[in-house]
Subunit: 278 residues, 2 copies
């Protein structure tokens, strides 16, 4: 594992690391923010952040302004890349399939199945690595944006007991019912509806064995709101399942990191309350 | 004047505008953050931010996290581009000369003199435009980073009475004594030492008619500290001239926006105190 960036940030350190991923069978980069407490060697809980289409490990750490809040609450932030990468890894010229668009699932179809096992990476390999190499407690929360909001919801729902809290900005809540998800799922998973349901938050919610409260912020001027995100489907599924949901519709906000930056402090406070509870 | 971006941000609006600049004789873009008070139509004071080498109007607005603080204090933030731009504008393949490297001066030498009048732009044309088109009071502060820190110091020193406060991150304080400045000044101004002294903060300080207190943050792990920035020259010049200076040497911090983000709140509080004073 090699450190390729290190910057002092709010009394802590923003770092970027590269390692050989076993799950993805390629080199991967991830970002780690160590708050001042972690720099002093105190074990800290970890918030995993999953980014959206086209992003790398860089977008969140450069644009969200999350470090100020993580420093205050003593949380480690971990932001992986959004897919396997490299010349040996299958790709597609579209921005919403292939590299930069892993959808945080384990692909079963050729040519994707060889490398696209992002769920194993974010849920298993990466936490193990983080808890081995950094002063990280095995106390985890997960959040994300857009495709990464889908990833956060699905990863938490598929792993009851593994996360203390979950939140999302502008998530794709029902990939099986919207164009981005339908395209990606057809490629990565084939046409079996049961396979799709295992990676769809709205479908998984119905029988979730754990009722972790979900916090979602959604901008009402988001260009993808009606076509790709459809938070009303999450709202209905939570209502039917009796799943606790705080869905905040934010007037005037769009899909950008300016939206995330405006409310990331609320999300980090939400996660800190769960992570620091006894 | 055309608005080319608009994003809700911390209850206000982050916008980017394009207009035909008379001073620079080319189209220019600048970013404006309108805090909630300005969105409500209340006149607000303005903090001008000058960015460093290679930057555009985008870097500060995406990476500094300044909007949270400007929203709280009710300041408008204005961030111009770092030089004239376009195919008709002289350029150089190096990152530290030509487009992206205007040094906030008025060039006198060919081929630069035709467009490179950034001082007229940032000190005169841009404030006039901002005060005409936005709910902006003619109450101004100025700050910047690296080449833009030089720009902020020089612009304030050359215009006594025009700014209420000035601050800088990692500024080039004595361009006439360091390679970045020597290269740019030779190209833009020729070899006349008197011409150079008019654009050099350390030289201008000696006879400054106004003693505006200067706030400077400088990272001690900044790769350009000893070769290009040399804050000790500013410190000595302020001591000799009796000019008030708060120079904070920040252990561990580098030249990046992670450094700026960590302390921009202090700078905005510093400017707000001056801008809101009766």
């Amino acid at each position: 594992m090699t450190r390729i960036e290190q910057h002092a940030s709010f009394g802590g350190r923003q770092e970027v690391w590269q390692h050989a991923s076993a799950a993805l069978a390629c080199p991967m980069r991830f970002a780690v923010y160590l708050p001042p407490a972690a720099v002093r060697g105190e074990p800290c809980p970890v918030l995993y952040w999953l980014s959206g289409l086209t992003c790398t490990e860089q977008n969140f750490i450069a644009k969200a302004g999350a470090q100020a809040h993580a420093a205050r609450y003593g949380l480690i932030l971990v932001a992986p890349d959004t897919s396997p990468r490299g010349e040996a890894v299958a790709d597609d010229p579209a921005y919403d399939l292939g590299q930069g668009a892993g959808f945080y699932l384990n692909a079963t179809q050729a040519p994707w199945a060889a490398h696209y096992r992002m769920q194993d990476y974010v849920a298993d390999e990466l936490p193990a690595l983080v808890e081995q190499h950094f002063p990280a407690l095995p106390v985890r929360a997960i959040a994300g944006h857009s495709m990464g909001g889908h990833g956060a919801l699905v990863t938490a729902l598929r792993h009851p007991g593994r996360y203390r809290s979950v939140s999302a900005f502008s998530p794709i809540v029902a990939p099986g019912q919207v164009p981005w998800g339908q395209k990606a799922f057809a490629a990565y998973l084939g046409q079996d509806p049961d396979a799709w349901a295992q990676w769809d938050a709205v479908a998984l919610l119905r029988a979730a064995p754990e009722r972790l409260p979900i916090l979602v912020d959604q901008g009402l001027d988001d260009e993808f709101l009606a076509g790709q995100l459809r938070p009303e489907l999450l709202e209905a599924a939570c209502r039917e399942a009796g799943h606790p949901l705080t869905l905040r519709r934010q007037a005037g906000y769009d899909h950008s990191y300016y939206f995330i930056a405006s409310f990331i402090g609320d999300h980090i406070a939400h996660h800190a309350a769960a992570l620091k509870a006894d």
